[in-house]
Symmetry: C2
DNA sequence: TGGCATTAGTTTCATACGAAACTATTATCT
DNA sequence: AGATAATAGTTTCGTATGAAACTAATGCCA
């Protein structure tokens, strides 16, 4: 492995895509996503946005859609659609908030809780297998790097400190 | 920052999305992507697949579409569409390969080379700004971690050791 | 109280995506 | 050579995406 082009922007005007961090992040993220999305899709007929909504409801109990927007870095359109499907499939219950009739309070239905309890260990196991490639110190380093990069990226990004989309 | 759940799969059946590495990778990748995609889109009316094709042609000179598939982790549908647009916009020239008439050999046209020379420094500058948040040793660590994780993720992934898609 | 700005959430619309099917050409096997 | 498999690349088709417009309810301020 040749020493990477890490010294700021030297090696002027030569760009090797395979070493370009945004590209590598994109490829990695998508490889990982596919591996994990299979669990949700094949075994539970869940999309990733649906899974994220369930994860938040499973952890926090009762939330409005906009709470979930704030928690998941998904935009409200995505959340709205995910919630609609979850309600349609009987995995989530929505009850109107009587103190603010624009809002609906969402909770996992029994079927949703059942699935949630099944998925969580599978998801954690996948994550563990991914991290198997790393030493313990490397995992801590990863944790720190992800946090730092996310903070920096948010500065460079436009309004929508978005989520899924197009990488590079 | 609480010590992360890195000890394999302890803390059983508790999943906090904000700490879940696949999720964090997804959010980061997409935040970075948006920041960078803006350059391509606003200033050059280029999509990311088009940019990737140009990056490979800019570096390697003359390639077939399937060469690019092999180099970019994009599937052939995406490459095909990107190439079609690049040819339509006069940025890439496609000439039939006389020794194998299924193939077309692609090169950057003059307009494509011009754009390529303009984009490369901008892309590298964005990358540099992202990495500004890291110390030099951290950048080296990032390089290593990305490589290791990509290797491991490829093992867990299905056939299509894909690219863009849906994260978590 | 009335009116204007906000917020919650949905719908519309144009675009991107990729699996699968398809066309055309080349490779391989007998 | 003739048939079958494999490869290059395109098209089809159903689905996902998000910006922008929209509906409905609430907040704010004079």
């Amino acid at each position: 492995m040749p020493s990477p082009r890490t010294e700021t922007a030297e090696q002027v005007s030569s760009l090797i895509l395979e070493r370009f961090v945004p590209y590598r992040l994109s490829v990695l993220s998508n490889t990982v996503s596919r591996a994990i999305a299979r669990i949700y899709a094949e075994r539970f007929d869940l999309t990733i946005p649906e899974w994220r909504v369930m994860a938040q409801l499973g952890r926090h109990g009762r939330l409005s859609a906009s709470d979930i927007v704030g928690l998941t870095a998904m935009d409200k359109v995505r959340v709205s659609r995910a919630v609609a499907r979850l309600v349609a499939s009987g995995r989530v219950v929505a009850v109107p908030d009587e103190t603010d009739r624009r809002r609906q309070l969402l909770t996992l239905a029994a079927a949703g809780r059942r699935i949630y309890r099944e998925i969580v260990p599978l998801a954690l196991e996948r994550e563990a297998r991914l991290l198997d490639a790393l030493e313990p110190e490397e995992r801590r380093a990863l944790d720190r790097l992800l946090a730092k990069l996310q903070g920096q990226a948010a500065k460079l990004a436009p309004k929508t400190a978005g989520e899924d989309g197009e990488p590079d």
